[in-house]
């Protein structure tokens, strides 16, 4: 088992104002970054099969959002879901084991990168179908309402998902039923290759909230504090029974869509420009500038997280391969 410090909200104000919250957020950013760099490297060396979608460059979204959540809150995630899974508190070893097709992986080797779920931390699953998780999030939120809990549900999805019918149906249901759900759009400017500029006429995806009479906000998705503050406000509304919110987090993926991407649809200059806005380095620098952390402390955290990722890989590699013998008996849950 390899873990990082669970995210926690600041006592007041911004994540970057509160030492415990800020340190956990930095760990989260680094863990997502190093986990994905590690799997990217293993894939390149032929040590990992299948495909994967990396969120390098987008780490502040999952981190800022999950800092505003409790463990008993739920999320639905996407094909580009490692960041959400890690930020919600998943065991890095079980994640790594899943990607390495091991029996000890979250899905026992049946799901892979695109399908990691973790019931313990309220992660209802990454989803290989664009927008597939959005109605599910609305339903999980409906259940909270019926059960009279004050838990909330966050649905993560990309810009492309907002052109799917499922997005619109789910937002409408959440709106008419005042469901405790927060719709978090990671606008990284492209679907696989098709840009938001070409795929929609609205300037901002958050404008789409108006059609469902819910608040819609656009924030800098590379800024942990901005993402946290918008989420906190939406979570407070949802817990108070005031219904859903759509948050658009503007960000950028440094890597291609998946492993086959040759980046024919965007320029090197654009990618380089966004690398100057890297959310991980930006947050670390901010903490040092604000005097929340010393450079040495930041280096120590970095080293600790690197070690946890190394542990995750070592432990996962030592695990048994997933077992075909249990396939047929795993399609259905046994009836009592």
């Amino acid at each position: 088992m390899a873990t990082i410090t669970p995210l926690l909200p600041p006592a007041a104000g911004k994540v970057s104002d509160d030492k415990a919250s800020a340190m956990a957020a930095l760990e989260s950013l680094l863990a997502i970054r190093f986990f994905e760099e590690a799997v990217d490297g293993m894939f390149a060396r032929g040590l990992m099969h299948g495909t994967m979608h990396l969120s390098i460059g987008q780490e502040a979204v999952a981190t800022g959002v999950c800092a505003a959540l409790r463990q008993t809150d739920f999320i639905t995630s996407t094909h580009r879901g490692h960041s959400h899974c890690i930020a919600k508190g998943a065991d890095l070893t079980r994640m790594m084991a899943e990607l390495l097709a091991k029996q000890t992986g979250y899905c026992r080797g049946r799901g892979g990168s695109m399908h990691i779920a973790d019931a313990k931390t309220g992660n209802l699953g990454a989803n290989g179908i664009v927008a597939g998780g959005i109605p599910i999030a609305a339903g999980a939120a409906l259940a909270q309402k019926l059960k009279k809990t004050d838990n909330v549900v966050v649905s993560f999805f990309g810009d492309g998902a907002t052109n799917e019918g499922a997005f619109h149906e789910a937002l409408n249901l959440a709106s008419v039923w005042d469901l405790p759900v927060i719709f978090v759009c990671e606008n990284n400017k492209y679907g696989m290759s098709f840009s938001t500029a070409k795929s929609m006429k609205v300037e901002r995806i958050s404008e789409r909230a108006a059609a469902y009479a819910m608040p819609g906000v656009t924030v800098d998705g590379n800024d942990v504090d901005a993402v946290y503050e918008a989420t906190k406000q939406a979570v407070d509304r949802a817990r108070a029974g005031q219904g859903p919110t759509l948050i658009e987090c503007v960000t950028y993926r440094h890597k291609g869509h998946s492993k086959s991407d040759k980046n024919l649809y965007r320029t090197k200059e654009e990618i380089d420009f966004w690398k100057t806005k890297d959310p991980v380095g930006k947050f670390e620098t901010l903490l040092i500038e604000k005097g929340i952390l010393t450079k040495e402390q930041a280096e120590q955290i970095t080293e600790n997280v690197r070690n946890e990722i190394r542990n995750a890989i070592t432990e996962a590699q030592a695990a048994p391969d997933s077992d075909p013998a249990e396939l047929l008996s795993s399609v259905f849950r046994a009836v009592n």
Binding site: G132, I136, E169, V335
Partner: protein, 329 residues
Amino acid sequence: MSERVITYAEAIREAIGQAMESDPSVFMLGEDIGVYGGAFGVSGDLYHRFGEERVRDTPISEMGIVGAAVGAALVGMKPIVEIQFSDFTAHAMDQIVNQAAKIHFMLGGELSVPMVLRAPSGSGTGAAAQHSQSLETWFAHVPGLKVVLPSSPMEAKGLLLSAIDDPNPVIVLEHKLLYKTSGHVPEEMYKTPIGVARVLREGKDLTIVATGVMVSRSLEAAAQLSQMGIEATVIDPRTLSPLDMGPINDSISQTGRVMLVQEAPKHVGFIAEIAARISEGPAIYSLTEPVKRLCGMDVPIPYAPQLEKAVVPQLPDIVSGAQDLMRGV
């Protein structure tokens, strides 16, 4: 003491009502199931008994409704979705096929989707091609879905109570022509097991396997055939996934002849799976005649009553089909 007789629609409503009374996690959602009482009157007074939270009217939004049911089921509720016509499941197929069916297996087994999706199915109401299909094969082909076709009021209640209790997604396809038919239904809660076929009538000459509304039609045909000196066994698989071949194979070993009857089009219909399984197993050596299939025509369901009747097996077709089989035609 006379047995209590109620309709198929009442039996379904009674099952839902009893499940909702005994388990607070059971709730219903669907289009016009509230004060309207459901397009076919199935939910009836449940809205007044349980209120708008638990008998939840929805916007016309099939993908959203089924997705919401999947999400609610994932976190411990037991939703019963009513899709107004089974044809409209086409709108919701991502949630049914890619989500509900796969979640338990694909996500490693920690989560499951105890959802029931009920939908009126089949032709005979003059509603034409987009409101009359028999789509059971779509669902039966997807690992992870259980598929149930209740053929009588008794089966409707018992199978639905099993479906509600099942920790997996269960598709219940109710036949529209059966809603107003009546039969004995016990008042208490009882469960008819999913995955167990039922032998409704035993006869030595041929085996008729039928699903949905074809079950009662086949029983009527068997009664007529009996007067002609032909004794038929009639078997209702009741659930297509999982499929219980035991009674079918056993019966064929006695009769040596089998006729498979379904309303859905013949081409790649579910009944072909039964034919294939007969051919794989020992039952094939008992057959004295080739397997006979009596199915819907491979056309969309038409509107005109004479056309609609022509495309789906009717009582005389089953009788003459059996006679042909007996004559080796």
